[in-house]
Amino acid sequence: MEVSNRIIAVLLVLAIAVSAGNFFGATGPLGEAISGMSVTAGKTNVSVTSQASITFVTGWNQTWFGQGTTNAGSSLVIATNQANSNSFYNGSYCNNSAFFGTGTHVLPMCIQNDGNDETTCVKIQASASPTGWITCSGTCAQTPEARIKAYENSTAGLSCTSGLRSTWGQLNGTQRWLCEAINTTRVIGVDVELTLPQNTNSGSELSTTITISGTSDC
């Protein structure tokens, strides 16, 4: 088979073009950095897209107070940041950093910034209002309530650099912010407080689903 030098030349040019395209396409132009001399510095152009993302720390998204009795003649308040009465589980801090009382403990919620946005806004909401899931036998003798507040969970500096909701706020079907700017990889804890009427329904689990979301700004 006769192969002319012209064909070989064309193919070689093609090979060189593809290789060059591969090289410059992957790393960007390096200019005079290509030489026989050793170089001590190089440059790589990287574009990082800001991504706001938060997540519950694994296992810290189930706030289960256990089984207990209500008060006779008055409402009962149970919370994740106190020792609870009437056989409900005692409270604890995020990541087992502290406990209230002894025995089995109810876990608060722990939220971590797992994105790369240093000012991620954390919001929370429930799937129902307190009256929608803390139900009573007949008309509730007292008003059911569900409240939340957030706290710092790091000893290595602030997790929430601004807008930490450190006082109780209502937890219902409306989205509510917990922290206006949480740093990446950092964690904030969320306390939950419930007010149970004296005639709260007994015998079955009463619960609500919580949803959190992270956005680049509030």
Binding site: V3, V18, Q62, A72, S202, S207
Partner: protein, 74 residues
């Protein structure tokens, strides 16, 4: 013996072209298939259960007496 150097060069160049093309495709594919972290967990649950308080234990007893009629004087 026939000179096959042209054919050898042609084959080598073809291999080079194929390798370069696959290298290029692989480079771009790797960007699309960058490892993805685990999916964030964005939902949780709050719950409790109310139980009936234990009923007080009740046992029944009885206290009684009887007054006997006085004997008549004989």
């Amino acid at each position: 013996m026939k000179d096959n150097s042209g054919l050898v060069v042609l084959l080598l160049v073809l291999v080079l072209v194929v390798l370069s093309v696959f290298s290029t495709l692989n480079t771009f594919a790797s960007f699309d298939n960058a490892p993805v972290d685990k999916e964030p967990v964005n939902s949780g649950k709050i719950g409790f259960s109310v139980i009936e308080p234990p009923k007080p234990s009740i046992s029944h007893g009885e206290v009684g007496f009887m007054i006997k009629a006085a004997d008549e004087e004989s």
